[in-house]
């Protein structure tokens, strides 16, 4: 037996929308902040999925994305470290195709069925960049989904699989390309999307002895809203069988897209429902899941709906363009060039910087960050235990709004955060509106990319106002 035991998602706080000056689209789409990428969003979705769960259980992590920050260097290992998972787990990046999310899910299911793992975390995350003001930019969204695939505690059991592989150059990016490229729309849709999805889904039904009417919800990939409606109809689904694709609210989140729609469908908490997740890209994967009675218990994460409902529309397209580095501006303040970080120091400090471990003194119980060899309270030497602070709620004790620090999001909010569980950290804030930064503000920690120097993506934690469903 194998299936989904937990699900979670992450959608960045910011959106482009009708109110955004310079953005000419009637709907909204989600956009990653300047310090977010596929890895940071995957960590956020992983946290959402693992809330209230023992992280030591996880035996493997698969990361699916077409936008991994590194071409050579695994990202799953960064995500596993940030999520504070065990060392003896298998990890892999599954990349290069929009189908990678369902491929990762299938691989995790196979591992669990084969008995090589009991619990595998799958995270799919994308922030694909369309050319400024183009169709791909308008229809895309940024986001991530996460599932734990398990052999117990299952809320949605695996219920069939079918796949088609066909090499097709309809949407692509080569090494060095910044923006998504695509071939003529009519060819790509008719000979690509429509033909291949029809083949994949009918193949699934034939194989499993099922038909369209057996499906409760269809989590269907599509590049845009219009094609999505057409496709579902052509495939024979009724409107109430189709999971809302969230165009006009979130957008096409690439590899994460069908997985986020699946997570969304799971939020209905209805047992004994057949859910189909259908991806597309060099073929198609169709994955069936049947919800179990376990699904009735409420999850503890925000998932898709919670993150959707806690968004903020950007005032200006210019801000977004600066975040994406497609609007090159003179730096607001003259600062020295950032130096490349020392990889040796990054490695040495991985527990405190990436796992965000503080230390709790075994003698006096004082929580301190970063971990100290000599206790800050009782001066006992080398007698402390690590304590994970990344998932602990905090409160702003004091702050500054800095206009000189040379950040993309001026002014830089610098905060002193006290954790509820003890411990204090001086950190940057992000995803904040200037007027909400106050003493006493409730914050949580979010894994973000500080900068890229010498090709090294340097990640660390920042404080964000607590995301809550409206």
């Amino acid at each position: 037996m194998a299936g989904i035991s937990a699900s979670g998602a992450y959608i960045p706080r910011y959106r482009l929308g009708p109110e955004t000056d310079g953005w000419d689209s009637p709907g909204q789409r989600s956009i990653a902040n300047f310090d977010e990428d596929s890895v940071s969003m995957a960590v956020a979705a992983g946290i959402d999925c693992l809330r209230g769960r023992a992280r030591e259980e996880i035996d493997g992590l698969l990361f699916a994305s077409t936008t991994p920050p590194y071409a050579e260097k695994q990202c799953a290992s960064i995500i596993a470290t940030a999520l504070d998972l065990r060392r003896d787990i298998f990890t892999a990046d599954i990349t290069d195709v929009l189908r990678a999310g369902t491929t990762a899910l299938k691989s995790a299911l196979d591992s669990v069925v084969a008995g090589s793992a009991k619990h595998v975390l799958v995270v799919a995350s994308d922030n694909r960049q369309g050319a400024p003001k183009g169709e791909a930019e308008r229809n895309s969204g940024d986001g991530a989904a996460a599932f734990v695939i398990s052999n117990e505690g299952i809320i949605a059991e695996q219920a069939g699989f079918h796949t088609i592989t066909e090499s097709l150059i309809d949407t692509w990016r080569s090494a060095g390309d910044r923006f998504i490229r695509s071939w003529e729309d009519r060819f790509a849709i008719e000979e690509g999307l429509e033909r291949i999805l029809a083949e994949a889904i009918s193949g699934f039904f034939d194989k499993e002895g099922l038909s369209v009417k057996d499906v409760a919800k269809l989590a269907l990939y599509s590049p845009d809203a219009r094609r999505h409606g057409q496709l579902a109809r052509q495939l024979g689904f009724q409107a109430d069988q189709v999971q809302d694709p969230l165009f006009g609210r979130m957008g096409n989140t690439g590899t994460a897209f069908p997985l986020m729609l699946l997570a969304s469908a799971l939020e209905d908490r209805a047992p004994d429902q057949l859910l189909l997740a259908v991806s597309y890209g060099d073929g198609s994967d169709v994955l069936g899941f049947r919800t179990t009675p376990n699904i009735a218990a409420p999850g503890s994460g925000l998932s898709v709906s919670g993150y959707l409902d806690s968004g903020q529309v950007l005032d200006s397209y210019e801000t977004y363009a600066k975040w994406r580095d497609v609007w090159l501006t003179d730096s607001a303040s003259r600062r020295p060039q950032a130096q490349a970080p020392s990889v040796t120091a990054m490695w040495r400090e991985s527990d405190q910087n990436i796992k965000f471990h503080g230390a709790v003194c075994n003698q006096c119980g004082y929580v301190q960050y970063p971990p100290q060899r000599v206790c800050v309270e009782c001066q006992t030497k080398d007698d402390s235990a690590p304590v994970r602070l990344s998932d602990k709620p905090g409160t702003v004790f004091t702050y500054s709004l800095d206009y000189l620090a040379g950040t993309v999001d001026m002014p830089l909010a610098i905060a002193v955060v006290d954790f509820e569980a003890g411990g204090r950290v001086l950190c940057m804030m992000t995803d904040r509106e200037v007027d909400e930064v106050k003493i006493g503000l409730q914050v949580e920690m979010s894994f973000r990319k500080l900068r890229v120097v010498n090709g090294i993506h340097n990640y660390y934690w920042k404080a964000v106002p607590v995301r809550k469903a409206a």
């Binding site: 003259r334 970080p341 120091a345 910087n353 709004l401 000189l404 950040t407 002193v416 411990g423 001086l426």
Partner: protein, 390 residues
């Protein structure tokens, strides 16, 4: 422990013009300050038996001091201790004389900040893992200002105006300091309405970033008598270094323990029990207006949370009960980091000798200097006390 009180004397001091010294190198600034000190003491470079060079980033060793002044193979030590650098160079020089090792020594502080091409301080930190947030100095102290206003329930506008009055006072004093970087009156309204640098601190809440150097000649009181009648005695030296950073949840950000400890150590050496009554003038580390406000309380000049009352009463103005930063302070005299401590001593020295020109206070006999370096939670603080001879 016998302490430093009355065991060493200052017989000569010099201070370069502070400011944007585009035309002068660090070595030029050293020559300018040191030769004024030599002349003031009536000695020559060859009379110096040992020297200490304080600089944060302009030199890596003590050797450039020998090179600039052509000192004759004497021992020279470079001292670096954040904004307390110059005072710590001075302190080490004092101890060498008090220990009886040398008769006449030189302490110099120098900094050349304006060659960087950046506004503000642009000191490169070692790279490391490079995850610490960029917290420029204005923000470090803005964290204290935000919390100070909150803790004492001070409305933003009122707090801004208190800070603005401190800047306006120092600007006024600066107009009477020919060597100061800024010598122009600025009104409290102008300060309060200046562009924001690190909320709630605006441009005029921040001190100047300057080039400069200052120098002191130190000897024993016995030898001092053979040079001049109006030598100045060191009465106390305190240095305190914070270890706890911001790792403690119980630290309030509205007092700086390093300032409290360093001043208490110096007061104890000097035998001071009521600093507000006994001290005639104080040169304190007003890197930002909020810093000066908190220092009033840390040094025991004002009760906790009440410093703004004293600001409003003019207690710390030139005509007030306890004049602070009579030469314009870091705010207007400027802040070449490694030079500032000895620049402060220079002003106290001149005031105690009655040579402070338009700024001259009436018969001061005891003066204080205070430097605070590093960042809130992990400061290095020096306090020094100076008195006239009996």
């Amino acid at each position: 422990m016998s302490g430093i009180k009355d065991r060493v004397a200052v017989i000569g001091m010099g201070c370069s013009k502070f400011g944007e010294r585009w035309d002068s190198s660090s070595s030029d600034l050293i020559v300018e300050a040191a030769y004024e000190a030599f002349e003031d003491a009536g000695i020559e470079g060859k009379d110096v038996q040992a020297a200490w060079l304080g600089t944060v980033g302009s030199f890596r060793t003590g050797q450039p001091l020998a090179a600039a002044l052509k000192l004759d193979y004497i021992p020279i030590t470079r001292v670096e201790n954040a904004c307390a650098t110059a005072t710590d160079a001075f302190r080490n020089a004092c101890y060498a004389v008090a220990a009886g090792i040398y008769d006449i020594v030189l302490a110099v502080g120098v900094e050349k900040l304006k060659d960087s091409g950046f506004s503000g301080l642009a000191v490169a930190e070692p790279a490391g893992a490079d995850v610490n947030p960029p917290v420029p100095p204005p923000s470090q102290f803005a964290l204290a200002a935000t919390r100070y206003f909150h803790q004492y329930d001070i409305p933003y506008e009122e707090g801004k105006m208190t800070l603005a009055q401190i800047a306006a006072k120092n600007h006024h004093n600066g107009t009477m300091s020919p060597k100061a970087h800024f010598q122009r009156e600025v009104s409290a309204d102008q300060v309060a309405n200046a562009p924001m640098v690190a909320w709630p601190l605006g441009l005029f809440d921040c001190c100047g970033v300057s080039d400069g150097a200052a120098a002191a000649i130190i000897t024993t009181p016995e030898i001092a008598k053979t040079f001049r009648d109006d030598y100045i005695l060191v009465k106390g030296l305190g240095l305190s270094v914070g270890a706890f950073g911001i790792m403690r949840n119980d630290w309030d950000f509205t007092h700086f323990p390093e300032s409290v400890r360093a001043s208490q150590a110096a007061y104890q050496e000097a035998g001071i029990s009521d600093p507000r009554q006994e001290i005639d003038l104080a040169m304190v580390h007003d890197c930002f207006t909020i810093t000066e406000l908190i220092i009033y309380e840390d040094l025991g000049f004002s009760p906790r949370g009440r410093a703004s009352d004293d600001v409003a009463a003019g207690t710390f103005s030139l005509e007030g009960e306890l004049p602070v930063n009579t030469d314009g302070g870091l705010k207007c005299f400027g802040h070449p980091i490694g030079a500032s401590g000895i620049r402060m001593i220079y002003e106290v020295y001149k005031q105690l000798q009655g040579k402070a020109e338009k700024r001259q206070l009436k018969d001061p006999t005891l003066g204080l200097t205070h430097n605070l370096g590093g960042r809130p939670g992990s400061f290095t603080c020096s306090v020094a006390l100076f008195g006239t001879r009996d």
